[in-house]
Subunit: 302 residues, 2 copies
């Protein structure tokens, strides 16, 4: 059997089982006194992640941003990031300069030092970022823990990346796709309230993320189509099924949504889009008709 | 100008300057109470690191081992490792199983949990490992700090990897090259004595490592050719100029070498091979003739 017959998530499950990783989450956790050290790693490469014509600056920014997004999803404060860079030997030196510029501007924006890395010769540009963060154990927001009746909410607006990808020739499309602003302050703010019962970033797409949470928690969701906040220009299709929106999805008790919105007021919108249900189903309600949401989104290998 | 005109070390220096990384070391350090969190990352790929016919088990083992070696070089206790895996979509699933087996066996050997990772589609097998360790700040052994008159010593025997690479068709050659045993216990043991004035692993080769330390410390070395411990079958050429020996190089005050040897007695040999000199030169003494050691070894891009 080949990897493409399995798909990324099954491969990850297989590896997790083998490595005895009990909880699959946006970050790994290492207990440290009363805190968790958070660790996340993401490998991107020019062939699968970047549209033709992507500038090295954008590759640098994106490589940092996607890792910070995973720290943000757990409510953590990022402490630093390392970058390993695989790059062809006949590449012009300006590539490295512009890449470094993008990476540094993104890291500086979030006050994160770039701590080090590795450079290696490779046929295609490949970047592996690994970010570290810290959070008090009692503030940590795992992917596990949502309860029936909790509300589901998302930061910002969805579909921006999907819309950009479908209109990649339009002005600013590559900026919109790659100059991601991870929700670092927002994640920390929600974590400090200790009200979220689960969280993840929706980088694989909203539907895909809901299905992942559903499987991990053995629960389900009822999502109201008309409540989904949709980015300008985007269609609901983009908001539901396209990857690349680095927004955060939280569940929390119904009574807590007001304080959460209040906390994020100066940062971004937080929109209630549905609720957690006991059944392991992801339902989409459109015009009072309830149907099963399609489980599609971006998945490597498939 | 292209990257191949610069070479890996100049590229790293350029990036370090840009990212405001003051000290180039085997690991990055993040202060944590009275300790340092150590972080290191290494990207390897099938095209530049692995001889034809390398088994996935060996790739897994090697990917973990090389990262642990960097933690070892600072005297740290490894806490965990993440592995990002880039792999072609038509690869057989057995590849992942065997790779995971090798990675896990190496990690278990050193009691290190594999904490997580990432899997991505790539044209060639590419692994990015990131290891974390911890060490008391006062025990941390940096690349910086050696003093004139210090002795230079190395663990184990050198040239094993160079010999294997020159005789890759021989039985066990690939094992000798890739089933690296990082000097984790040895590094921790020396660190606990608080006597080493600098340290690094010699994965780029002895000569190359000496030159790197010389530049960082603005000092030099006088190395005695006949004192270099040479692995069975290997030539002095391999011991001096081939990369891939994951032994540790330490400097320490002359009076401390005895206690260091005593400490490592049950683990491995520690051999004095020369001394630190005030001049920024790396000298090789052979049959009482002193010459400049060649600055060659493995360097990417060049």
């Amino acid at each position: 059997m080949q990897l493409k017959d399995l798909g990324e998530r099954k491969i990850i499950n297989m590896l997790a089982k083998y490595f005895e990783i009990e909880y699959l989450d946006d970050c790994a956790t290492l207990p440290f006194n009363d805190s968790f050290l958070l660790i996340t790693t993401d490998m991107v490469n020019e062939k699968t992640h970047f549209p033709e014509g992507t500038k090295p600056y954008h590759i640098g920014w994106f490589s940092v941003a996607v890792n910070l997004s995973d720290i943000a999803a757990k409510g953590g404060k990022p402490l630093g990031i390392t970058l390993s860079i695989g790059i062809p030997r006949d590449m012009d030196i300006n590539f490295i300069n512009e890449f470094a510029h993008g990476a540094k501007e993104c890291a500086s924006r979030f006050d994160v030092p770039i701590l080090g890395g590795d450079t290696k010769e490779m046929d295609f540009v490949t970047i592996c970022g690994t970010a570290f963060g810290i959070i008090k154990q009692k503030e940590f927001i795992s992917r596990y823990g949502m309860r029936e009746g909790d509300v589901v909410c998302v930061t910002g607006k969805l579909g921006k990346a999907g819309y950009a990808l479908s209109n990649i020739k339009k002005r600013n499309a590559i900026d919109n796709l790659l100059l991601v602003m991870p929700r670092v302050r927002e994640g920390m703010a929600i974590a400090s309230l200790k009200i979220a019962t689960s969280s993840m970033d929706i980088s694989d797409g909203l539907a895909s993320s809901l299905y992942q949470l559903s499987i991990l928690n053995k629960k389900g969701f009822r999502i109201y189509g008309k409540k989904i906040p949709i980015a300008r220009g985007a269609k609901k299709e983009h908001a539901l099924y396209s990857g690349g929106d680095y927004e955060l999805l939280f569940t929390m008790p119904k009574g807590k949504i007001k304080i959460a919105k209040q906390k994020l007021k100066s940062m971004c919108s937080l929109t209630e889009i549905g609720e957690v249900i006991g059944e392991r189903k992801v339902l989409l309600v459109e015009d009072e008709r309830e149907e099963i949401m399609e489980n599609k989104g971006y998945e490597h290998f498939k």
